[in-house]
């Protein structure tokens, strides 16, 4: 069944049943703001503000790709907060641009039922929650659509492959629906017969003109066979011949300089190794599309392993290296393999067997990787070589990278970076930050993990890339989400000066506070991601909260006053994203009369 032509209706999966994208309307750009409404009424959807951010530059992904900055989205029902709507909305915009979105009064040729978040930086599709419930609550509607002879495509994130209810899936697939799992947005669009335009271009292009073949989601066998036909012909006429390239060109050196600035690794000449030559037959590509009950969904265990290589989703490395994987590694002849540290990539191709390629890539990495200097603060795990891809199948052992949700910065508390005020850090660490971060060149970011260790990136192509790379390293090494503290020369998190930071705030860290109150505090803090927040606790563990204050002092005073309304002997416990210990002079007690 093909989804490459005809009008598709997009259904966003929710736990309350599918929510239909009814209208997607280009509004006058002079409005300067996108909006999401319910059913064409004036009721704004909960996702309205997030939708605006998802569309417009610099945070969004729509304006840069489709050339328009102001839309109105009308959905058939409520979509609660969260980001699982993003992949469906991105698909709707692409279909609209191609004239293929079935809107309210259109007759649809097919249905796209979709859930998944989209990371704006690289269009990685992230896992979402409650997938079994979402599918269950959509079953009746999907059956109706199939009964009405409309083709149905289900799209879920790779991370949720194991969550898809086997019974529901079996039932739908038996009726003729198709299911794909994606870890990046582009494979979904290949299935839809489109190539998502790069940022700043005007619209999707037909798949026939796309440079790269589908790498992850493949809806039918013939296209995959067409892709592999050329290497087979080459194999018949070309004798194996291993070639080695030393990439000492300026472009490669830029990467080395950047990484060196980050890690303190002594600079050397090589960052990429490529071997080329004969192309033995390609191995069968792993299709993640299921269209028959006899092809159960394969969960990715661990994350990403076993899926097809999508260069834009490779963690840790620079965007320029991702592009090299796209431009040089993917088209390279088999057998090939890609190994990497957290800073550099090494790949080989044209070897006589996959085993030989895997081994050669790891050897190249081990022999050529740069070593950290004593002052780098780099852990062994960060420069350990890992076989990331065997051929075009991801086999990395580096899984489980904990990433925080966007936005990563709190611009409303921005102030100049001062190494001496770095939270959760010893004097030695502050000195190191002064040497290695403050004096480093832009774009740069400083991230700290829950244990207080910090991770730096500098000389990056953009602040977003500096943040991403630092967060990925920190998220993998610490196995916890980390916090962006500084970008370039500014603090971009609410770093306290009125109390001593003792750790990250977590809901369960407010010991003694009743569960409901802890949850309420967490909800209030999570609801606002700008300004200063503070929480004070009293003698009987009642909490006072202040969110979105314009200064640290007013947040502290507000929380203390709020606490004093319900409790006595209040002390400040949280400032910004941190747990703190009150300094007696810093957090004055409210007067007894106010208690």
């Amino acid at each position: 069944m093909s989804f490459t032509a005809g009008k598709l209706r997009v259904l966003i999966a929710t736990t309350n049943g599918p929510v239909e994208i009814q209208l997607l309307t280009e509004e006058d750009p002079v409005i300067g703001r996108c909006v999401a409404c319910i059913g064409g009424t004036t009721e704004t959807a909960d996702i309205a503000a997030a939708y605006h951010a998802f569309v417009v530059r610099p945070t969004g992904v729509i304006e840069g790709r489709f050339g328009h900055a102001c839309y109105r989205l009308d959905v058939s029902g409520r979509i609660d907060a969260g980001s699982s709507w993003q992949l469906g909305v991105l698909a709707a915009h692409a279909l609209l641009a191609a004239g293929r979105l079935a809107q309210e009064n259109d007759v649809a040729d097919g249905i796209l039922w979709v859930t998944g978040s989209v990371r704006p930086v690289d269009l990685t599709v992230g896992g979402v929650s409650h997938v079994p419930e979402k599918l269950e609550s959509s079953l009746d509607r999907l059956k109706q659509e199939i009964k009405a002879r409309r083709k149905v495509l289900l799209a879920v994130p790779v991370d949720n492959a194991a969550d898809v209810s086997p019974s529901a899936t079996k039932e739908l697939l038996a009726l003729g629906a198709e299911l794909i799992t994606v870890s990046h947005a582009q494979p979904l669009f290949y299935v839809l017969g489109m190539k998502l335009p790069e940022a700043a271009s005007k619209g999707p292009v037909p798949v026939s003109s796309a440079v790269s073949p589908p790498q992850e989601a493949v809806s039918a066998a013939p296209p995959q066979e067409a892709v592999s036909a050329k290497p087979r012909q080459e194999a018949a006429s070309t004798k194996p011949q291993r070639r080695v390239y030393a990439w000492a060109a300026a472009a490669a050196l830029v990467g080395i300089v950047g990484a060196g600035a980050v890690t303190g690794i002594p600079q050397t000449g090589l960052s990429l190794l490529q071997a080329g030559g004969t192309a033995p037959p390609s191995g069968p590509a792993m299709a993640t599309t299921a269209s028959q009950p006899s092809q159960p969904i394969q969960p990715s265990q661990p994350r990403h392993v076993g899926v097809q290589l999508v260069p834009e989703t490779i963690p840790f490395i620079k965007a320029i290296d991702r592009q090299r994987v796209r431009d040089e590694y993917l088209p390279a002849p088999n057998y090939k393999a890609l190994a990497m540290t957290m800073f550099e990539i090494y790949f080989v191709s044209g070897l006589p067997s996959q085993e030989a390629a895997d081994k050669a890539a790891m050897e190249a990495c081990e022999n050529l990787k740069r070593r950290p200097s004593a002052d780098s603060g780099l852990s062994e795990i960060e420069y350990r070589c890992d076989l990331f891809a065997s051929g075009t199948t991801v086999v990395t052992q580096r899984t489980g990278i904990a990433m925080p949700p966007l936005p990563w910065v709190n611009v409303s508390v921005q102030r100049p970076f001062v190494s001496a005020e770095l939270p959760m850090t010893s004097q030695e660490g502050k000195d190191a930050a002064e040497r290695r971060y403050r004096r480093a060149s832009r774009s740069k970011a400083l991230v700290i993990g829950p244990g207080g260790r910090f991770y730096l990136s500098s000389a990056e192509s953009s602040p977003e890339e500096a943040m991403r790379r630092s967060l990925e390293r920190c998220g993998y090494v610490s196995k916890s989400t980390c916090l962006v503290v500084a970008v370039d020369d500014s603090y971009v998190a609410a770093v306290p000066t009125l109390a001593k930071v003792v750790g990250f705030y977590r809901q369960d860290a407010l010991f003694g506070v009743q569960t409901e109150e802890r949850a309420e505090v967490a909800r209030r803090l999570a609801a606002s991601n700008e300004g200063w927040h503070a929480v004070a606790l009293g003698a009987t563990r009642r909490a006072g909260t202040k969110v979105g204050a314009i200064s640290e002092r007013s947040a502290v005073d507000g929380a203390m006053e709020n606490c004093a309304m319900y409790d006595r002997d209040c002390r400040i416990a949280v400032i910004g994203p941190f747990l703190v210990e009150a300094q007696s002079a810093a957090a004055p007690q409210p007067t007894p009369g106010r208690q």
Binding site: I31, V35, T41, A49, V411, S412, G548
Partner: protein, 179 residues
């Protein structure tokens, strides 16, 4: 003598009983619009004034002065009337602290009102609009986003929305943003 005195007492007791009974039967007087109601109106974004309350407020100079004093305490920004040269309806207003624009939607009958505040972290919770004729409309505001923007979708066919839009586009109206 003794009998006459006793009769007087009995008569007075009857009168007193009748008076108290009559008093007890009368309906308790309605609480008049006062300071407490003004405070409630200014502090609760969802509290609006009935037309009777508006009349009471504007009929009493002392109450009006109290209202202005309390409003000033809760005010973050004030939106002045436009210059005398302005005539007809307007679709943009500026104030010290931000701006408001009104745009038609492609959906018939709907309009977008966009408020932009220069200081996002402390955006107001409600807006009061006062017409030159003394009419008063209050509108609860959604939270501003990180850029300090608030977007409202309004329906010209909805009475409350129409009243708000009428005052907003009236250059002689004034506005107050309250926290």
């Amino acid at each position: 003598m003794t009998t006459e005195t006793e009769n007087d007492f009995a008569h007075r007791a009857d009168q007193l009983y009748a008076a108290r009974s009559a008093l007890a039967d009368t309906k308790r007087p309605q609480r008049r619009f006062g300071i407490a109601e003004i405070v409630q109106f200014l502090n609760d974004p969802s509290r609006s004034l009935t037309s009777e309350e508006q009349r009471a407020l504007f009929a009493d100079p002392r109450l009006r002065a109290d209202y202005r004093r309390l409003k000033a305490q809760a005010t973050t920004f004030e939106m002045p009337a436009l210059a005398a040269a302005s005539s007809g309806n307007v679709n943009a207003r500026r104030f010290d602290g931000g701006s408001i624009t009104i745009h038609p939607s492609r959906i018939p009958g709907q309009l977008y009102v966009i408020l932009r505040f220069n200081w996002p972290a402390n955006s107001p919770r409600a807006m009061l609009l006062e017409g030159a004729a003394g009419d008063l409309v209050k509108r609860a505001l959604p939270s501003a986003d990180q850029q300090g923007e608030v977007m409202m979708v309004l329906d010209e066919n909805n009475d409350a929305d129409a009243g708000f839009l009428r005052l907003l586009s009236d250059p002689t109206s004034t506005g107050t943003f309250v926290v």
